[in-house]
Amino acid sequence: MLEALWDGLVLVFSWPAIGYMTVGVFFGLFMGFTPGIGGPVTLALVLPFSFSLDEVSAVAFLLGTHSVVVTGGSVSAILFGVPGAGPNAATIIDGFPLAQKGEAGRAIGAALAASALGGVFGTVVLACIIPVLRPIVLVFGPPEFFMLAILGVVFLATLSGDEPLKGVIAGLLGLMISLIGEELIVGTKRYTFDTVYLWDGIKLVPSVIGLFAVAEMVDLLVRGGSIAKPEKKAVLTGPWTGVMDVFKHWGLFVRSCILGVIIGIIPGLGGDVACFLAYGQAAQTVKKGETEYGKGNIGGVIAPEAANNAKEGGALVPTIAFGIPGSGSMAILLGALLIVGITPGAALLDEKLDITFAMVWTLAIANIGGAAIMMLLAKRLSKITLLEGSILAPIILSVCFIGAYMTTNSMGDIIVAIVLGVIGFMMKRLNFSRAALLLGLVLGRIVEQNLFLSIRIFGAGFIYRPIAMGLVVIAVMVIAWSFLKPMLQRRNEKAA
């Protein structure tokens, strides 16, 4: 085992593997920074180049590219409110308000540190559980997915700070939007108005671009000035403050990583859920006197970024163990592994263990390297937020619409971005939580699908399965706590 661990490291640092990994990291960062181009598209583009490489180079090249896409994406999410890649959507909720406060540098630093360390965390967990993979993956079925998603819905109310009802309303709106499209159980087409585009439902990326980027840019134009409105002169905090923030919020960081790893390991829940659940639990645990979530709390950047990169370590698990990909990108990676002669399954955990560890090392090294490169650029990039809105907004709006269009190459994507842009602008003005709407949108389908499957497979008693029951208990505790906390605080204030 230890020998394989060392062999794997030697393999990664051997030439030309390390060179391919470097190329991959730069390309992945660039594609991630470019709005709308997510991990799967980036991997699909580089895939043909890997066919002629040897096993280790191909692994280093593809995993290197893949693991930093989201790292690059977090920077455009924070600076412009445009998600570079799908999973960055949750980062915008607090990242962009931080940029508006003139703390873009700090937010980028925190996002980079959280994603790099989260990636390493996920990798370490992956390495530790390699021997007991199979039983862990098989413990989770539709009832457990259902309850995990319900746990996310429970967080809805808490996303709106002092006005829980507004959070619930926004969340329900999100759930309603998620109903649009063809449902999977009997294939009924709901609210599609005979438009083929709507059959597949409302996609996440154009929605986020509309809700945040378009709404914010319109707001910026109406308001005038620049994105950042630093309270003192034009002082921008440096990225290192953000890095330190991750260590100050260590508990939150670790919790988010664990959540990410779990969701990565179990295939079938989808990567976007990890970030939103992590965000939800962060908002749930906001302390008294802290900045409200959604208004620029650094925890809202740390949680989703940590969860996302930790998840990728986890997502390798089902890919390696069963040949069942844990995420869209992993599906592409699987194809590439097969062509260079690596067959997922038992062999990778046995005679080819060194290759498996080479993958683990690549994930860790690429995560740290990618973050380091972006750190060097962060200070300069964050100055963009001081640009006059009338110059910046038209450029960003153009990029937004192209990014939205990239989702399915259809005009429908642009219409979705515009419609949700209008909704987002109104929600911002009326102080409704856009995060709650997104959470509803992401979780709606998962809740419905897994509820139906659970009942069809296990009957109404599905809820008594041990893990599902445990999740029910947690959900009840979360709800109870959100009522108890204000009461306790009031009593404490009286006592004091």
């Binding site: 799967p40 598209v41 991997l43 699909a44 895939l47 043909p48 066919f51 098989l138 079925g141 539709p142 063809e182 449902e183 999977l184 159980i185 009997v186 294939g187 087409k189 005979d194 083929v196 585009y197 059959w199 597949d200 295939p267 079938g268 069963f322 040949g323 069942i324 990909p325 869209g328 990108s329 599906a331 592409i332 194809g335 097969l338 062509i339 002669g341 067959t343 399954g345 038992a346 009338s390 110059i391 038209p394 450029i395 709006l397 153009s398 619409f401 192209i402 269009y405 399915t408 190459n409 259809s410 642009i414 699908q449 139906f452 499957l453 069809r456 497979i457 296990f458």
Partner: protein, 340 residues
């Protein structure tokens, strides 16, 4: 004023990128026509899926044999309907080609489903990429060991399936109709075949069905027991597994089996816009033939469990026409139920 100019430039640039138009083409000798031109290859599914993979995998070879540049464009939506519509309505100059999942498209057209603007019988079919024999499997720990035991089972057998428009559901539905299996209970709603497979591996449901290429590894690893191959001949790697015709079925049942297997014979195929000049169709057919019979490509594809089995475009059309004339009313009605 300056600001207005800035907006205008941005709007024009955005529009330019999005509507990127194609230049009109002149009629010339096909080889000379394609030389140095771009050909748009429409993939009606998202990047990263099987169809996207095949398109990107074939593209360099196609470029070599045609002298044109292949631009792959993903047009996902409506289970392939959006992309197929795009190819159908494109300018018939032979510069738009596409790939399609026929086990999805043929039933959709038979059932006269909403949203379809194309007529499969009118496309210029270029080639078949592969056929897609299907296999019915049960979990490794299942008490069923043969298809006969399934046929004679007294209790309800719960099976896992993707949504009702997926090929997994069609496989199970066809088996249910062909052998009149009233005790088949198909649980629909899994997001994809991998999720449906996992449910069986976890032991929640008894079995499932889908393409041999997607199951073979899991069978070899001992996760599944293969009980029945849905094809008209034995399949490589599953020589010991009986095929659907080894078991007695009604006349009506046989018609359904014939229709479905006919569709699977042309499971994945490439087409060009109807009305394109005949010499360009012939030229592209030749290019696909060279590509898909290239030993290097075939070998690489096999290594990845992405089989390739070329068939000429004209023969593809024959199979498509046959499935429209052969489909028995019982099957058509069932399809209409699904595609409503």
């Amino acid at each position: 004023m300056k600001r207005l100019g800035m907006y205008l430039v941005c709007i024009i640039m955005t529009a330019g990128i999005i509507f990127g138009s194609q230049l009109p083409a002149l009629s010339q000798d096909a080889a000379a026509f394609y030389k140095g031109k771009t050909v748009t290859f429409i993939v009606p599914y998202s990047p990263g899926g099987g169809y996207d993979f095949y398109a990107r995998f074939m593209a360099p070879h196609l470029e070599k044999y045609t002298g044109c540049t292949i631009v792959i464009k993903n047009k996902p939506g409506g289970g392939g309907v959006v992309g197929a519509n795009v190819v159908y309505r494109a300018k018939p100059d032979g510069r738009t080609i596409g790939i399609l999942n026929m086990t999805g498209a043929i039933p959709a057209q038979i059932a006269d489903a909403k949203g379809i603007d194309f007529d499969l019988k009118k496309f210029n079919w270029l080639a078949r990429l592969n056929d897609e024999p299907q296999v019915f499997v049960v979990g490794a720990k299942s008490k069923f060991n043969s298809w006969n035991e399934i046929l004679n089972a007294k209790e309800t057998i719960k099976l896992s399936s993707t949504g009702t428009v997926g090929s997994t559901y069609l496989d199970l539905l066809v088996l249910k109709l062909v052998f009149d299996l009233k005790h088949f209970d198909i649980v629909t709603g899994f997001s994809g075949t991998s999720d449906a497979d996992l449910s069986v591996i976890r032991g929640e449901l008894e079995g499932t069905a889908s393409s041999v290429s997607s199951k073979i590894k899991k069978i070899e690893e001992g996760n599944f027991k293969p009980l029945l191959v849905i094809a008209d001949e034995k399949v490589k790697g599953l020589e010991n597994v009986p095929i659907i015709y080894d078991f007695p079925m009604s006349t009506e049942g046989k018609k359904i089996a014939d229709t479905y297997i006919g569709m699977m014979n042309v499971a994945r195929a490439m087409m060009m816009t109807p009305g394109a000049p005949a010499d360009r169709v012939a030229f592209m057919r030749e290019a696909f033939k060279k590509t898909l019979t290239d030993p290097d490509l075939v070998q690489k594809a096999e290594k990845m469990d992405r089989p390739v089995a070329w068939m000429d475009g004209e023969k593809v059309l024959k199979f498509i026409e046959r499935s429209f004339t052969e489909a028995p009313p019982l099957f058509v009605n069932e399809l209409k139920q699904i595609m409503k």
